[in-house]
């Protein structure tokens, strides 16, 4: 029981990091980044490659920074120039980017699977209410909490966070006030993609690294984002926690149905609240 609960929290934590990035980008550019799962994968591989030189924590930071740079470029060369195009066009372009990044990972690292060891201080099990539990998983959970709190603090307490929130609501009104919305856009998309890289790096020691490792979890974060109400951090945190538990308990009690459960949850939420948990009701 407690194991499943914790597993659910850990997975939910990863979903929180991933979907926070999606929500950030969506808020500012009204686009769902279909390449987000490939960025997660790329983050894991970047961490794999640099961990030998900079250690695990350095690798985590490197994954965040590397994917932030990718995100800044994505905003500069895709989202901003295509700001006035239909969202469908931009969405397809991010799908194209998903194909490219996935293939690049295969070209650079090959198809075989790798594993990344957790940091040496966190390899063993730890005792949780009498049950041994891999301590690194708790590290991932803590990391997710720290990331979510830091993100909220950044958005709520800093001047740039204020500009980002304003731009996410009304980018034109914000620009008229003199906020350099180009820079804010690059920063926000950069942080959003960086979070995907961070999630990938943090998840790397939990599973095998393969070029398609991001496919399953990105689907779940899409589900989280939809259930949460698309543009809402609060909604997606609740949805991530819920989905994490469903996946963890489903894997044990209804293994054949786990892949359908997120969809059932989603259908249930959408029937009751078409715009998601935190979404405004449409009249």
């Amino acid at each position: 029981m407690i194991i499943q609960l914790l597993n659910g929290l850990v997975y939910g934590g990863l979903l929180v990091i991933l979907s926070s990035g999606l929500v950030l980008i969506f808020g500012l550019r009204q686009v769902v980044n279909f390449a987000h799962g490939a960025f997660y994968t790329l983050g894991a591989y970047v961490a794999l490659s640099v961990s030998a030189f900079v250690g695990f924590w350095g690798a985590l930071a490197a994954a965040f920074v590397a994917l932030s740079v990718v995100g800044i470029a994505l905003d500069r060369f895709c989202f901003r120039p295509l700001q006035n195009r239909p969202h469908a066009v931009v969405l397809i372009i991010t799908f194209g980017l998903f194909l490219i990044v996935t293939d690049l990972v295969q070209l650079v690292w090959g198809r075989e699977s790798y594993s990344l060891l957790p940091p040496p201080d966190f390899t063993g099990p730890v005792d949780v209410f009498g049950t041994p539990y891999p301590v690194y998983r708790l590290v991932v959970l803590a990391l997710a909490v720290v990331a979510a709190v830091a993100l909220q603090a950044w958005l709520r307490l800093t001047r740039i966070g204020l500009h980002a929130r304003a731009a996410a609501t009304d980018i034109v009104a914000t620009g008229i006030q003199g906020v350099n919305t180009d820079r804010v856009g690059a920063l926000v998309v950069g942080v959003g993609c960086g979070l995907a890289g961070l999630a990938g790096a943090a998840a790397a020691p939990l599973l095998a690294l393969t070029p398609s490792m991001g496919d399953a979890i990105i689907i779940d974060s899409f589900v989280v984002m939809v259930i949460g109400g698309l543009g809402s951090f609060g909604g997606s945190i609740v949805a991530a926690a819920l989905l994490g538990q469903i996946q963890a308990f489903g894997a044990v009690y209804m293994p054949s149905l786990t892949t359908l459960l997120p969809f059932v949850l989603m259908a249930a939420v959408l029937v009751i609240r078409p715009t998601g948990l935190a979404g405004a009701r449409i009249s």
Partner: protein, 232 residues
Amino acid sequence: MTACIRFDDVHAYYGGAHILHGVSFAIEPGERVALIGRNGVGKTTVVNSLLGIARIGSGVARIAGRALKNPRTFTAAQLGIAIVPQGRMIVPNLTIEENLILGAAPGRKGYWTLETILALFPILKERARSPGTALSGGQQQMLALGRALMGNPTCLVLDEPSEGLAPVIVDDVADIAAKVAAQGTAILLIEQNLSLVRRAADRFGVMAKGRIVSEGSMAGLDIAALHAHIAI
């Protein structure tokens, strides 16, 4: 002295739609100028060409002597032009105080600070933590004015500030415009309410069909003739 805003034969477009057909005017520092005209003649488009929302096809628009080439929405504010846009554009998910702080983005220091603005608008001080859209129309207009002033602009542009406001509140707008002008800030007032124009401007231009068709000073103004220009 360089003009705060200067248009030289500006032709502006939305996509292929040609809206401004050669607009020229200048606003010198400290001047109070009104731009009047009926709905749809292109008054807001004058503002939008400063913001890059309307494209300048030919002619030159300058802010503080600098010619605008592909301006972004934030260019004007960073060059000292604060705009109170038509419809006010209060950011709904920010509090009143946050909306005001947003206006400080250009980072220019001067007389206007959060304190001086809250002192000028007591209602905003009372409700500093409630969402900007919780205010009435008139209060939102005050918020938009306060927010624009937070940037300590050299020129304040007001696009139809009296639209949808009760006469008493229009009086307030006039008072505030007078206080702003007293700080030496230039004002470009886009209006259809002539009583406000008369109180808040020294000079005016009348627009029709994307052109400035007549200009004059407030002294010896024939209000009846003006009415003919803007009556619907």
